[in-house]
Amino acid sequence: MLVEELFEGFIGLDWRDVVMMLVGGVLIYLAIKHKFEPLLLLPIGLGAMATNLPLGGLTDEDGLFSVLKSAGLEGNNKLFPLLMFLGLGALTDFTPLLQRPTTMLLGAAAQAGIFVSLMAAIALDFSLRESGSIAIIGSADGPTTIFVASQLCPDTDTCPNEVLGPVVVAAYSYMAMVPIIQPPIMKLLTTRAERSIPMEYTDRPVPKLLKVLFPILVLIVGGLLAPKAIPLLAMFMFGNLMRESGVVDRLSNTAQNSLINIVTIFLGLVIGSTMTGESFLDLETLKILGLGLGAFIIGTASGVLFGKVMMVLSGRKINPLIGAAGVSAVPMAARVVQRVGQSERPDNFLIMHAMGPNVAGVIGSALAGGVILSRVPALAG
């Protein structure tokens, strides 16, 4: 009896708990050793480990993780991803996009991965709500993914498969692996001559008034066309307006640092707590991971192909590689474009040109999320 009490933790341990603790360990390893999205993967990894330890009560009704989840990510409450978007808006500089606004279209083209993977998920027998949640992995944007997936599939009554945990883990893992996923696709779809197209960077001055008006413009236009995207757009653009207005530096600094850091800690732990053995270890999770990867690949491919169209229309003044940055994943995707472009032509600096489609991709993915949020529940019932 005493022995049972002493070792009740071991006795309550299931093989699935052990596997999930190992998965958590792998995420922590990737975060520390390879710096793969460490800000998110570290708390997610530890959250997964702690949740799968038996008898801890972290996910009981009044447990720590349940309290955090209900505070920021349950039911209609999407506080955590929206606060993260506020911080990201304060961190984002739209100057490269405003210097060359035509690259905004590349941010739209790269969202094709979302909609193609939606069709693929339906073909693999996921429900419409689950398919929408899985497809949004292609946005390559963490807060958008969490915001959309948690609204479409808030519980197992709405979606039979637990998708939130796998979807978020897939999104952040693939975002971390952008330097591995994107280059082969970029090289496959372009010739050496196309990759070598030089793009000279001239630091065109952008009026401050335009920088201040742009977030307001995006909010109004985006909000009118995709109303369900308004929470995301409003938070992102408010953060950016604080940054660009130059009159609320204290608030802007708080959003960029303290606020986003605190929310990141809580959000990571909550996501980790959804990775329980019963819900994570099944074939559906593998399918979700595969579909998410497909969404990333198709998004990259469609961005590069649209980049080729712009290359032709501009008389070979645009390097098609910058289209790959339209998948969002700021600033990793832009860095990958720079690296691939420079490997063909060392004096070619594409990073500032790629930052335009990169930040446009954030707007595009929020809009795509808004469309999914408005149409999927309407059609799924």
Partner: protein, 109 residues
């Protein structure tokens, strides 16, 4: 469900493109407007520094040199409304003092 998926995919792609095209056009229009405003503002800004105040009071006119025939500064120098106002004020003061001198019979200069 395939049809639903197709509807969402078509609508979604179209909506994202439409929104970004509208944003692009609006951004370009705003930029154009701001540039025009800047040009207008620049053209209405002073092209020369305002003239330094005269060392002697501008009232030393004699009847031999009537105010009307006083040599005026070239237009390029007196270009701003502020300068023109200063000049008009100086002329008004000079006229007033000349009339006062005449009324008092001080025509000995």
């Amino acid at each position: 469900m395939y049809l639903d998926g197709l509807e969402i995919a078509g609508l979604g792609t179209g909506m994202v493109f439409l929104a970004l095209v509208v944003m692009l056009i609006s951004t370009l229009s705003l930029r154009l407007l701001i540039d025009r405003l800047d040009k207008v503002r620049a053209s209405s800004a002073p092209v020369a520094p305002p003239p330094a105040p005269p060392e002697e009071p501008p009232v030393a006119f004699s009847p031999a040199t009537p105010v009307e025939s006083a040599p005026s500064a070239p237009e390029s120098v007196i270009a701003t409304p502020k300068d023109k106002a200063a000049r008009a004020a100086a002329i008004a003061v000079a006229l007033y003092l000349t009339e006062e001198e005449e009324a008092e019979g001080r025509t000995d200069r």
